[in-house]
Symmetry: C2
Amino acid sequence: MMFSDDLDHPLAHGGGLAAARRLFADAPEPFIDLSTGINPYSYPLPHLPPDLFARLPDPEALTTVAAIAAQRYGAPTPAHVVPAPGTQILLPLVAALVDPSRAAVVAPTYREHARAAGLAGHRVSEVAKLDAAREARLVIVTNPNNPDGRLFNRNELIVMAQRLQARGGFLIVDEAFMDVGPAEVSLAGEVGRKAIVVLRSFGKFFGLAGVRLGFALAAPHFAARLSARLGPWSVSGPALAIGAAALADRAWITEARQQLTAAVDRLKTILVRADLEIVGGTTLFLLVRTQAASDLFQHLGRAGILVRSFPEHPSWLRFGLPATEDGWARLQTAMAAYAGTD
Amino acid sequence: MMFSDDLDHPLAHGGGLAAARRLFADAPEPFIDLSTGINPYSYPLPHLPPDLFARLPDPEALTTVAAIAAQRYGAPTPAHVVPAPGTQILLPLVAALVDPSRAAVVAPTYREHARAAGLAGHRVSEVAKLDAAREARLVIVTNPNNPDGRLFNRNELIVMAQRLQARGGFLIVDEAFMDVGPAEVSLAGEVGRKAIVVLRSFGKFFGLAGVRLGFALAAPHFAARLSARLGPWSVSGPALAIGAAALADRAWITEARQQLTAAVDRLKTILVRADLEIVGGTTLFLLVRTQAASDLFQHLGRAGILVRSFPEHPSWLRFGLPATEDGWARLQTAMAAYAGTD
């Protein structure tokens, strides 16, 4: 299927709480945002001295974060790491590392990939399976996939990268949710040897999406081109300080993974009790399929709970994790009421 | 003169305090950074609730900042305003709004403009005068100019934009220092009618360069293309909150301009007493020319004061403003010692 949206037109995403409040004006407050796949148990902010906001970010702070990220993600060296103000802004830049050609996005997935490849001048197809991408010079997969949690086989991805390399292309692997995925599936360690660019998101797992920090992991010649496009100071001073602290904090990371595993089990129980079919997910979100998705979205909205709907997949809803006990209780009550009146 | 630097190679800039500390390892602390043109009397940070860091920036916060910026800068409407994580990252994107052609940068100026136009695929010349740019489809001026404070005539710029429009091009006016420039020279109000894109920097005047916030002001069809390239959430949550507060704070803005005028007079006195020739500047920095620039740079470095040198203009030094009375005293002492031993 060709991707044919207007490339300049914004796509729908989760996180639009202000709009939700208008849509459900009578809903109880606080509105509970379950519409994103962001860890609600955020990494505790370190002290942020005013100088981080006042001064231009020192180039050496960027180098430090690249080194810490290389270690955390398992990239070969810091020269393989490009820090950016979120991975989103990297998407068209990474896609433009190969001259305009054919691109294939393994879909359904995060829709910005197809739009970004289109912005980079590619003819973009959305394909259901990796195998179907054989014609393309640029192939884009999200692993684990969003919103269904689908996992791609590491060896199949490497074989695909070899094929792409033979025709002057490469593979983009968006590992935005790999912090909670099976880490051994990550291709971060392969970016030096193979025609692979890996994207890693900081804000999702650390629950700090407002900070805007993300990384491309790529061979040094690609990394240098991406850095040149971003220019100096693309990452804010606070983001560099927060990233350096969080990415090195092994104890917090281990604990957060356990906490998320427990939380997603709790969410699963609530959804299963309401007779919803769980299609997949990660420990940061679950995707359900129901013919009554639109009704359930409205029901939850009126209860002050925002979940993610998908205009292009009207039977899907994605649920993130509540941040507080009050949030869990309200979700449980709303789902029970829904199941009871169904 | 053709711009022929390696486009992927980082250029030298001010603000590299960590590197300066290594270069002048015996210098007294705190090191005083006068190497940038950033207001040292920063806008006081508003309270930043943790949610600004945790949540994805709400799309409506971006719209709010665009509206406040339109008002502050005098852009026709918020649809003419593109918020970005600093203007730096916008430079290649703005230059790419016209297909690869000839670009002219009125120089000497901020060197990233030539590099960015090169990245966008243009053949880039650096020209000394606006008149000399007649062959180009893209002309870039910085007004007031950095580092010499040179001001371009508003009508001449408009005539140039009309010429460029006739050949399918446009004029980029970098108004990074226009907050302290003569505001009536700004072309922000013309971006809807004329083939002009204006760049405005947030961090310099408000003294919050680490926040990463900047704006392109452009006709709505250009603005939509730039926004599409940046994608959603390009500006961090804290930057949106700080920007919204600061850009609307008229009282602070008025006072800051007066404070900077007084401060630059004080700097001028110190430099003139040391027999330095002042080439120009703004109220955020002064540029001096001296055959002994390299000696003076070293002398100040040993005294723990970093100023901006220009590898391509070895007789220039740019001085920013000290932040504290201690900084003023140390600058005065160091300059007096220099003048005495000259």
